[in-house]
């Protein structure tokens, strides 16, 4: 199941520039989930983790059989590992980009393997960026800047 970090964000209908960006991190590796979570929490983001693509889709309300979300789920960035059992990060990316409600959320794909065809595939598929693992604090800081810019531009969907 997806685990929400201990940071709580008060439910609000007004958009606030001071709100912490919310990152959904998808990775089947327990160690990597723990590290990514801390990377983004330390970059002052709220983090939710999911252990595979299926769980991530369920969280986003995009799983088979689910109705589109009517709650005010706000996700500013999805960061997903490429190699995962069941559904790869690329397949997850495609599902998100096919969704009318979630397609505008930037998706970053990460992988421990530097394979050009894989990178191309993900970028063609609409990934915001493709990063190599293990992630570093500088990666999280950079991504956080992207998120903030996107929020300011009003790219982030909020219902």
């Amino acid at each position: 199941m997806a685990n929400t970090s201990s940071f709580s964000s008060s439910p609000s209908t007004k958009f606030s520039f001071d709100e912490k960006p919310h990152v959904l991190a998808v990775d089947d590796n327990l160690i990597d989930r723990k590290v990514i979570e801390r990377l983004f929490i330390n970059s002052t983001c709220k983090v939710t983790t999911a252990e595979n693509g299926k769980r991530a889709l369920e969280y986003l309300g995009l799983a088979d059989g689910q109705h589109p979300n009517h709650n005010d789920l706000k996700v500013n960035l999805i960061i997903t590992d490429y190699s995962m059992p069941g559904m790869t990060g690329y397949e997850l990316l495609k599902r998100i980009k096919e969704s009318p409600t979630m397609k505008e959320i930037p998706v970053v794909v990460v992988s421990s393997e530097n394979i050009p065809t894989r990178i191309n595939q993900c970028m063609q598929g609409g990934a915001q960026e493709f990063l190599l693992k293990p992630l570093q604090l500088s990666d999280a800081t950079k991504l956080r800047c992207h998120i903030k810019k996107a929020i300011t531009r009003g790219v982030c969907r909020r219902r």
């Binding site: 089947d28 590796n29 327990l30 160690i31 990597d32 590290v35 190699s83 693992k133 604090l137």
Partner: protein, 150 residues
């Protein structure tokens, strides 16, 4: 002063882990994530690593015992194990994992078995060294608090 001596010991122990090639830059990344709110983050991640990877080691062991080796399966396990090892900065372990995967791809069972013995050795050595390191860290302790960290 005792605390100064202990702090120096921590610094020296830590440096030797890098100098001797047991740890790489990624360990420093973990250290940078540690702060007052999460003062034991590095030890927590390392503990989690040893707990979580134990089952991978067992799986690989079992898979290597089979008469006919499933190299895809072995490579899959090793991909996971290498990923975790890389995330904590386990330099020597990671290098052996890379070698193992090359043997998998070449379908070389004997190479896999041999390399796996080396992996287990490096894995155990690192565990010992890190346990000793964290013990000194705990002994040196934070200056402000009166209680011993777990």
């Amino acid at each position: 002063m005792e605390r100064t001596r202990l702090r120096r010991q921590v610094a020296l122990t830590r440096q030797s882990l890098f100098d001797q090639g047991f740890l790489d830059e990624q360990f420093i990344q973990l250290e940078d994530l540690q702060d007052d709110a999460n003062p034991n983050f590095v030890e927590e991640v390392v503990t989690l690593y040893y707990r979580d990877s134990a089952r991978l080691i067992t799986n690989i062991e079992k898979a290597l015992e089979k008469n006919s080796l499933d190299f895809n399966k072995l490579d899959g396990f090793m991909h996971q194990f290498k990923g975790s090892s890389s995330s904590i900065g386990a330099k020597k372990v990671k290098a052996e994992c890379t070698l193992f995967r090359e043997y998998c791809r070449a379908g070389n069972g004997e190479g896999c078995t041999r390399t796996f013995q080396q992996i287990k050795k490096e894995y155990a050595t690192l565990k010992r060294k890190l346990e000793a390191y964290f013990q000194v860290v705990r002994q040196a302790g934070p200056a402000e608090t009166a209680c011993w960290p777990k």
